[in-house]
Amino acid sequence: MISKACELKRNKRVRSTSLPTEQRRRSFALVDKGLSEKEAISEASRCLGTLPCQSCDICALLCPDLCITWNEVTEQIEVDYDYCKGCGICAAVCPKKAIDMVQE
């Protein structure tokens, strides 16, 4: 089965904190305080380039049963398990190893 391939949690961007307005008006200190390590890693993890599934569609192209499809409603890639024989080609060719073969 395809695991976590297109699981996308919606989370807003991390905003860096600014100097309080009263302090800004009387000093030339830097306004933007920047991100902490925790904030930076959580913000960087939002990048689509770090997701396991990159929507390259190689799995769908090579599926002998044509059972990996794009679901327009959920906007996710999904496997039609009624037709999937479990050959494992998709898991073998996935360049990001986003597909796991799970024992039934």
Binding site: R24, C47, D57, I68, K96
Partner: protein, 480 residues
């Protein structure tokens, strides 16, 4: 497979290693180019029985680039004038390896610290994450990388032996520094001539410390100097050394002198009044540590980054009421959204859709500004909206000083009149696509070519000039 291709273009998996070419060793045998799989892909596009053929055959038109091209990079990388591998370094940050991220940034960005603070962020505008929630804070992530305490700046490669005359670069702003960085990396001897006492151009003489701390500029310049670039300050070309002697002492010359002359409001007699300032000289005076007395009420005319910098500087030097007058609507301001919001937070008033018509004065001293309201019209080809004056909708704002920040243009008054350098529109230098001027061996980069632009665009222009100079010197037979 049916996908909404217009919403989420297909992406490729990130690469794991990058080939980097050492120009000192490269003998230009072109074996690498002839052996690149990108070349073979042309024939292999229609092959059967291979994974590559399966991927490329029968795809919807447009989903795969035309024959002979590579797969496109991510939108952020395409939008960046420097073509930085944004996804690459963000992936390293997410993996908790900021030092590796910095190495990736340095591959294509000569001034990473500066960009971490004041880049105009074209990458964030096209971030695909926008379709899901918010675009990534790419600039903030870059700043995190350059400020990360344990990150050791990767030591620049030991300077190779330089032969012959150095390449001279006039101006040490973003364009000049970027060109010097790339030329030094290619193994050329480079010297920069800077008119002021500190290198950095607008980075040190224009942008105030609440937006860009000086230590960021100093760090980047120290890194470039460590690569073997000589920076000579207080070298005012035209006054001391003439351009001819410099050209005679150099293998090639890059003019990166920027756009230093402030445009005026176009109101007769404006600059003779006491209390009238132009934005650039004001910001420069301030960066040099000179005290400014702007009075209680200050008006800034303009809507760019420099206008807001001047307004916020005025507020910090003690002016009680600072008003920004801008002729178009608030959302049309060329300054970034974040900067506009920060200025409003601090108490800067912005009168959008107002056009100055006259400066009110009393005994040759500025007393106020008469403006007229405008209304917005259609967008032109460049995407900027036109505006029309509303007849009779005039109003006056009282002020003790007026700062004009309505744009800049290159100042080439130091060039001798008979010097054979072609000029283009807007007082810029005439260059071809290779950034070569009409004089052989003289190139130009940055704002002096394009007119006022952003730091990252000026850097891209400097990098391009470095490539052109490198090709020019190879063609001249100076190396190999």
């Amino acid at each position: 497979m049916k996908r909404k291709t217009e919403e989420l273009p297909p992406m490729v998996a990130a690469r794991t290693h990058r080939p980097t070419i050492n120009p000192l060793r490269c003998g230009q045998c072109f074996v690498c180019q002839q052996g690149c799989p990108g070349e073979f892909l042309r024939e292999y596009r229609q092959e059967g029985g291979s994974l590559r053929g399966e991927i490329y055959r029968n795809r919807e038109p447009g989903s795969v680039p035309a024959t002979g091209e590579c797969l496109p990079p991510a939108p952020c990388q395409q939008a960046c004038p420097l073509g930085q591998d944004v996804r690459g370094y963000i992936e390293r940050i997410a993996a908790g390896k900021p030092d590796q991220a910095l190495a990736i940034v340095r591959e294509s960005n000569p001034l990473p610290s500066v960009c971490g603070f004041i880049c105009s962020r074209p990458c964030e505008e096209v971030c695909l994450r926008e379709w899901i929630d918010d675009p990534l804070s790419i600039r903030a992530l870059k700043r995190y990388v350059v400020e990360y305490p344990s990150v050791k700046q990767p030591a620049p490669s030991s300077s190779p032996p330089r032969r012959g005359k150095p390449i001279s670069i006039i101006g040490s702003g973003p364009a000049g520094l970027a060109a010097a960085h790339d030329l030094a990396r290619m193994g050329h001897g480079v010297r920069i001539l800077e008119a002021h006492s500190k290198p950095g151009g607008m980075l040190t003489m224009g942008i105030p410390p609440f937006r860009l701390p000086q230590r960021a500029v100093e760090e980047d310049i120290a890194h470039i100097e460590a690569m073997g670039v000589e920076i000579g300050t207080n070298c005012c070309v035209g006054k001391g050394d003439s351009l001819k002697t410099i050209l005679g002492d150099s293998a090639a010359l890059i003019l990166a002198v920027g756009a230093q002359r402030s445009l005026t409001l176009g109101i007769v007699g404006e600059d003779e009044l006491e209390g009238y300032f132009d934005c650039l000289s004001l910001l420069r005076e301030f960066s040099l540590g000179h005290s400014l007395d702007l009075g209680e009420r200050v008006i800034v005319v303009g809507g760019g980054y420099a206008a807001l910098d001047a307004a916020r500087t005025a507020l910090r030097t003690g002016s009680a009421k600072v008003t920004v007058i801008y002729r178009r609507a608030l959302e049309d301001m060329p300054a970034g959204r974040g900067e506009v919001e920060e200025a409003l937070d601090e108490g800067v008033e912005i009168h959008a859709q107002s056009l100055p018509t006259a400066i009110l004065n009393h005994r040759a001293r500025v007393k106020g500004l008469r403006c007229v309201r405008t209304k917005m019209g259609r967008r032109d080809k460049g995407g900027r909206r036109s505006f029309m004056v509303i007849e009779g909708a005039e109003f006056e704002v009282e002020a003790d000083s007026i700062i004009a920040a309505v744009g800049q243009e290159p100042d080439l008054s130091w060039l001798p009149d008979d010097y054979p350098l072609g000029r283009a529109r807007g007082n810029a230098l005439l260059v071809n696509e290779e950034l070569a001027t009409t004089l052989a061996g003289v190139f130009a980069a940055g704002d002096v070519v394009t007119g006022p632009s952003s730091v990252v665009e000026a850097m891209a222009s400097g990098k391009k000039a470095a490539q052109s100079v490198h090709r020019f010197l190879i063609a001249k037979g100076g190396r190999r």
